[in-house]
């Protein structure tokens, strides 16, 4: 893996890796990938085992206010947001001309 690979992965993950850190990450990945490449030694395959437990999905019920949360949850969520206008989250322009 080289620095252009690291940058490509960073683009996919919406992260910027500063130039001064790129070679460090490159070296780290060489070692990590060598380690995990050991899995190719294993040729045996199994049918993936069923889970050992059975999930119980909840009833699909519409709530005006979900009783699992306090009544002011809407306000609290809005307060967490960086910029709000009339109860709407404000974001940067997505589409440009």
């Amino acid at each position: 893996m080289n620095s252009s690979d690291v940058n490509h992965l960073a683009d996919l993950a919406y992260i910027t890796v500063p130039k001064q850190q790129q070679s460090g990450f490159e070296q780290d990945f060489q070692g990590i990938l060598q380690n995990i490449a050991r899995l190719t030694e294993v040729s045996e395959e199994v049918d993936l085992l069923p889970t050992y437990y059975h999930q119980t999905l909840r009833e699909d019920v519409k709530h005006i206010h979900n009783p699992a949360f306090t009544s002011d949850i809407h306000q609290k969520i809005l307060q967490s947001m960086p910029q709000v206008e009339n109860d709407y989250l404000v974001v940067k322009t997505i589409l440009t001309k």
Binding site: V6, A13, T40
Partner: protein, 479 residues
């Protein structure tokens, strides 16, 4: 060193009136005042809340009302578990501004049980690490030796209990993050079966591996906490309805005869490279159990040698997905003011907010899931996960439990492995297989002439009763 407080002892003292909740809280706050500046176990302490709660509990005791086993017990909470209206940072800058908007289910259950929630504890950023050194808010130190790490990622939780600043704690464990710090600090740490405890309100790292569990001074204390937090939660679709056989049976844990039990010793876990003091300690543990009539049998878990590489594919893959939500848009740190467009907000917020280890794991996860590599890495790792699970299932047909060291060596010095990620990843060598297989595991303090050492017990899915019984029997024999 003073005898650590336990839940059962403290409960008896509160009921008998030989102490009050206010005295207990004052004592905990005094310990925090003396030690926390150095140890950095807590990132936030709820001083006024807990003083008020202690007074309310003392009033209740005076009325003669029955006190629940956890009522009035001071517990710390790993800062990846949400408490309503309290900051929840996962020790990351990207969540430094964030205040939780609801209680995690485990917190609701502890509050209902009357637990005194003392504060939030430090962790490796987003629970990624084995030393608590990658926290954005400085490392935590080991109370037993201030030059050493307490382990991680639940290092703050472990240090708070081992340092006498909490009677117990809740941590989370994805690859060993409860058990390894418990071993490094000389306390008990339990990772339950996957699905036993709700993950709702736990900031997710790897959703198919994460479990919340207790850190405590005794096995019985861990059992009392687990009994309170376990069970199905409709807000977590991966949590299960426990059958009567699977539910904890504390009277049985306290009295069961272990002489009829068989414990497996997997040869793959007793390898060259284990520190001599660990080997010697585990030998003593085995002799103690033999004295109780436990039978030991050598077993093999052949795919264990692939547990670390399997984990370091599956876990980062899930991390890269789970941490996509931290984008500077809806909550947390945001670089929107210096960004020119939406994608710039994401990149700048994430660059500023994430530390090196978090960035490394996100990139690794992105790589193993990317086109052209998914088949070689992720699909292969899922196959080997199935083989590791099969190893355990076959072993548990012949043995009731499995015993191993928790760690290959004792707590290392702060800074010793900080720049060597592979060496740090190998810290999990004895713990990750339990997460991969989804089985429960507990670390219990073992004999030592120096730094703390832990031994690990594992059992089949939902059989926490067996490992808690064995753990309790060991403690009763050696106290």
């Amino acid at each position: 060193m003073t005898t650590p407080l336990t839940i059962t002892t403290l409960h008896d003292e509160l009921v008998s009136g030989s102490t009050t909740a206010t005295q207990v809280v004052d004592s905990i706050l005094a310990a925090i005042e003396t030690k926390n500046t150095e140890l950095n176990a807590y990132t936030e302490v709820f001083t006024e809340d807990i003083k008020k709660q202690a007074k309310e509990i003392d009033i209740k005791i005076k009325t003669g009302a029955t006190l629940g086993i956890l009522e009035g017990i001071p517990m710390s909470i790993k800062d990846a578990i949400m408490i309503d209206n309290k900051k929840c940072t996962s020790s990351s800058l990207i969540l430094e501004p964030y205040t939780a908007v609801y209680d995690a289910t485990v917190i609701k259950r502890l509050k209902a049980a009357g637990v005194i929630l003392v504060g939030k504890t430090n962790l490796d950023e987003f629970a990624m690490g084995s030393s608590t050194e990658s926290s954005a808010f400085e490392p935590t130190k080991n109370p037993v030796d201030l030059e050493r790490v307490p382990g991680g990622s639940s290092g703050g939780s472990a240090a708070s209990v081992a340092g006498g600043m909490a009677v117990a704690s809740l941590g989370s464990d994805t690859g060993g993050s409860i058990r390894q710090p418990a071993a490094f600090t000389g306390i008990v740490g339990l990772k339950p079966t996957y699905g036993r405890v709700s993950r709702f309100g736990l900031i997710a790292m790897a959703s198919s591996l994460d479990q919340i569990g207790p850190l405590s001074n005794t096995t019985l204390d861990a059992a009392h906490i687990l009994e309170t937090i376990e069970g199905h939660d409709e807000l977590d679709a991966t949590s299960v309805h426990l059958t009567p056989e699977q539910a904890l049976d504390i009277p049985r844990i306290q009295t069961a005869d272990v002489s009829k039990m068989t414990v497996g010793l997997p040869k793959e876990y007793f390898i060259d490279g284990i520190a001599p003091e660990i080997r010697e300690s585990i030998d003593q543990v085995i002799q103690t159990y033999k004295g109780l009539g436990v039978t030991f049998k050598q077993i093999s878990l052949p795919y264990s040698e692939y547990a670390i590489p399997t984990y370091y594919i599956l876990m980062p893959a899930e991390v890269s997905s789970n941490l996509a939500r931290f984008d500077g848009i809806r909550y947390g740190l945001s670089q929107r003011d210096s960004a020119t467009n939406l994608l710039d907000v994401y990149k700048k917020s994430r660059e500023k907010g994430f530390g090196d280890e978090t960035t490394r794991r996100i990139l690794l996860g992105t790589y193993v899931l990317s086109s052209g590599y998914y088949g070689s890495y992720y699909s292969k790792a899922k196959q080997i996960q199935a083989l590791i699970k099969r190893d355990f299932e076959q072993a548990f047909q012949d043995v009731d439990a499995i015993l191993t060291p928790t760690t290959p060596h004792t707590a290392f010095k702060i800074g010793e492995k900080a720049n060597d990620p592979i060496s740090m990843y190998l810290e999990d060598i004895f713990t990750v297989a339990t997460n991969i297989a989804g089985i429960p595991g507990i670390s219990i303090p073992a004999p030592t002439q120096g730094l703390p050492i832990g031994f690990q017990l594992m059992s089949t899915h939902f059989d926490e009763n067996t490992i808690l019984t064995l753990g309790h029997a060991y403690e009763q024999t050696t106290k």
